[in-house]
Symmetry: C2
Subunit: 582 residues, 2 copies
């Protein structure tokens, strides 16, 4: 490709709304161009990156036996009503009416449509397993689109859906997709982790996120440097402490803490470690009558160590809270505790509540909690002596750096990541809702066991940039660079020697199947180099008249701090070797 026939358009300044580096660089390098909030044109350079991402995804999906199809962007609401998602999904589901007033949605995913295909097309267990995928435009009407392609409204997703005859077979399909995802992300040349994720109501461990490691990532990834344990924050288990509960050593003491309503303030005031304090969270559950009206409510007290944060996903699995919970109202709190939030605790309750202690709290001694009396806390509290053992003990909290790994093989570390893929076992959730069955080996209809598997095609380049950039611009991995090699001839319009050498090297690289661009725009060297460093093409060759007089050109990888001089004849094999390494 010659730059004069392509479209290069770089900017010195990033737009004001570009908060993160990938957004800034994608706009500045001319990869994307904003059309509206969360809606972007994919400009020629950006589209080349997307096409390379798609090609790798497609190859590995095909290799894994998935079959590509394309489902419509605009989908009739009827199917979405069958699963209830038309009503249940919030305003992020973009709803449309056509000229006849019929309801449609712009697809955010395609579980309903693919299940509709399956229930018509897959009639027998002999047609299973089956995996359909598409690489297609999606839309989610985000309340606050931002970060460029990282959290856009219109985006491209690869979504695959597997259909199996049994849970065991579905697990094999899941593992095959998981392996394909590893090959895909390996080929992208990105540092990533596959982390366990919560699989919601379906349970089990069959849900993993693929996270590109980046300091700027929105997600916290928990992993063990000494083992292969990795999970997202929602899922990561805080292992039960191995030590026994220490014996009580302090008397229980009502202690004035005027105006100190947080654990940190209390610890500070009393000169205690924050780890000696216990925080109280008050939840409530409702029971409904046949008409769906609240018939009664129950109040729960959750106890966490002062330095720990509640993990909602874990709390939502506590028996009794697993059908849904809410935070208690101030009235409910005053009714049961006789005090306002900030001074609550499990002692001196006005009315009984169910007490759930985090595993860590259950093994504490001599701890501090609110006294259920304004401006007072109690110190030296001990289980058994001052109050009964907790009604329930459970893992309620987010893990923190240094917690023991749940596999017992070391201590947990935390880093930031950007989710770019997700593999998920769905079970029969959609097939039951849509009555999608096949004839099983016993001749009876059975519901499909399903899985779904997504990759954010347009998010991936943004994640790659968050991980790979410097102050001059993007540094693409070879596999997804818009061009692999850029040839920068200096004074090509004046020097026949430079022109001839550049054209020849361009032709030779093309003949070897290398994705090369020759910058024949006639820019001055400084501007030309700045453009390509911003755009982030990994391999650069500079050809100048002075160098060519000595038969030399300069090679520089985008990560190199200096160029390497080499013979013109040596640069082609050098590039080929470098590219194959990449």
């Amino acid at each position: 490709m010659k730059a004069s026939r392509f479209f290069i358009s770089t900017l010195k300044e990033a737009p004001a709304d570009a908060e993160i580096i990938s957004h800034q660089l994608m706009v500045r390098a001319g990869l994307i161009k904003k059309l509206g909030a969360g809606i972007y044109n994919y400009m020629p350079l950006g589209l080349r990156v997307l096409r390379k991402v798609e090609a790798i995804v497609r190859e590995e999906m095909d290799r894994a036996g998935a079959v590509e199809c394309t489902m419509p962007v605009v989908q009739p609401a009827e199917l979405w009503q069958e699963t209830g998602r038309f009503e249940k999904m919030g305003p992020e589901l973009l709803r449309i009416q056509d000229r006849h007033g019929r309801d449609f949605v712009v697809q955010p995913t395609s579980e309903e449509v693919v299940t509709d295909i399956a229930r018509q097309e897959l009639r027998s267990h002999r047609q299973l397993p089956r995996n359909f995928y598409q690489i297609q435009t999606k839309f989610r009407d985000e309340r606050r689109p931002r970060f460029g392609l990282m959290r856009g409204r219109e985006f491209i997703m690869k979504d695959a859906y597997s259909f199996d005859k049994s849970r065991e077979a579905a697990q094999l399909s899941y593992q095959a997709m998981r392996a394909a995802y590893q090959r895909i992300f390996d080929r992208f040349g990105l540092r990533y982790r596959a982390v366990r994720a919560d699989s919601g109501a379906i349970g089990g461990d069959l849900s993993e996120e693929f996270q590109v490691i980046a300091a700027t990532g929105e997600d916290a990834i928990v992993y063990c440097p000494d083992s292969d344990y990795a999970a997202n924050m929602e899922k990561a288990e805080a292992a039960a402490p191995a030590h026994p509960r220490p014996a009580a050593s302090q008397p229980r003491t009502l202690t004035p803490t005027p105006g100190k309503s947080t654990c940190a303030q209390v610890a500070d005031l009393l000169g205690l470690a924050l780890t000696q304090t216990v925080k109280s969270l008050v939840l409530a559950t409702d029971t409904l009558d046949d008409a769906g009206q609240v018939a009664g409510s129950k109040v729960w007290l959750l106890l966490l160590r002062g330095d720990h944060d509640m993990n909602e996903v874990k709390v939502s699995k506590v028996p009794g809270l697993d059908a849904g919970f809410r935070f208690a109202t101030v009235a409910e709190i005053e009714e049961h505790f006789g005090a306002r939030p900030g001074y609550l605790g499990p002692l001196n309750l006005r009315k009984s509540v169910t007490i759930v202690a985090d595993r860590e709290v259950a093994l504490m001694a001599d701890w501090v909690c609110g006294a259920n009396q304004e401006d007072f806390h109690i110190t030296g509290v001990n289980w058994g002596r001052d109050l009964p053992e907790p009604d329930l003990v459970a893992d309620l909290r987010n893990v923190v750096e240094g917690d023991p790994s749940p596999d017992g093989k070391g201590l947990l570390a935390i880093e930031r990541g950007i989710e770019i893929g997700h593999v998920f076992y769905l079970g029969t959730k959609y097939s039951r809702a849509m009555n999608a069955t096949f004839l099983a080996e016993d001749g009876k209809p059975a519901f499909f066991e399903m899985g779904c598997y997504g990759i954010g095609i347009t998010r991936l380049p943004a994640a790659a940039i968050e991980q790979n950039h410097d102050e001059r611009g993007i540094i693409w991995p070879d596999a997804i660079a818009p061009f692999t090699v850029v040839l920068c001839p200096i004074g090509m319009d004046r020097s026949e020697a430079v022109r001839a050498a550049a054209e020849q090297l361009h032709a030779d690289l093309l003949a070897q199947g290398v994705d090369v661009i020759l910058d024949d725009r006639g820019e001055r060297p400084g501007a030309m180099f700045a453009d390509w460093e911003l755009i982030g093409v990994p391999h650069r060759v500079v050809l100048s008249e002075r160098g060519l007089k000595e038969g030399q050109v300069e090679y520089q990888h985008r990560r190199d701090t200096e160029a390497t001089r080499m013979a013109l004849g040596a640069v082609l094999p050098h590039l080929l070797q470098k590219i194959n390494q990449g």
Copy 2:
């Protein structure tokens, strides 16, 4: 590819709503699957065809110097309001509101968005010419979607847009696109014509349609077998007759024609040729006052030969009618003619009207027309003798088979076609509306001269099928077949010889880059052959144990009536030769 890893799903019966053969065959062969009215899933086989169409289009667009990008499916209404199309376009423009109540459209084309890109990105004449294209999902909310992908609502279109600094440069860009389109349609292996089309308000000849020839086509294509003249019906010129007007030979006679209100009925009653009759069409034009209210109207009488049909596009170019016209009301007709439609004519008018005669009518003698008196016509009417020469003479009619070609090189013929491409010079229509300018060589801002160029990616396979099918199914041209070669082994599960030969040939063809599918599904020969004839793979090789014992296999092209036996070793070179021919 092995069929067991792919997805083949054929149907014996076409769905009831499939009126045309391409729709029937695409559904039966499992290329597409209906999701809603005019909305289809592209199933794996169909998607393979689309990908091949796209690849050819992409290669030739790139070769012609166009640069690919992708514009959003969901587009903010603001840009569409700048050109007025948001209000002007009918309900076929699918309008959406997002969660904040802002207006959007689902793109039917992208003139607005690409012009918005150009006015930001193309600042100097030095950046021109420039051609951006995309291959992307479109939506038109057709009132009556039908014919499968031929007239769907959601479809894929390649749309390209050229930007030039002058009308002359824009014409070069147009011609470059026209040449690219010819290469594209040549490569598809379809019989097609490039026909002149009307370019609307912009005028000139810079608008051509690419029509796939098919008896079932919706469009009439006019062409001259003895020259390269070709145009669509709207555009095709009815040349002025070369003969002079014959002398009057009959007396003007008021003739009773009770109840005969059509030319055909009158000719029949009077024993005259239909070509001797003249039909009267009454139009009206309105003048508006400053408030946009109708201030006055004018009535026009158009005269066409009895066997000719009015061509609205031509009428809309008659001076005085070119700002818009309507059919006259019955009240207007009675006011001017003193009679009801069916017995109207240019003689004995109650109130004067402007008379526009078709070129043919202007040269007629002794003709028949309505008498402006119920149940009477006048025969033997002659210009000059019985009424003044017409106010205007113009080409008002559709051409008919046998008309002289406007280039004077023979007679016109008419065939049916399916429009699958359109190249169009737009001028400054959009750049003016959106104030899209660049700095011209004189340092002043100038409006872009634009062109737009479309190819119906999803319509093309349907058109190909309308042109290429038989009673057994589709017959794909090699270039866009879902697979080029199918290997049909008989009894592969029983015969190791058959399996080994089929697997080897499959591997050899793949190594040669041939797109081959090996049918390893274990179907019986009859069902297997019927499937592949329905699907329309052009080259088939049958391997059987009996044949292989003699070292023979059978080759059959989808158009062949019989198979050809050949040595196993000869089939690979035979296929390669056949494919290169195709």
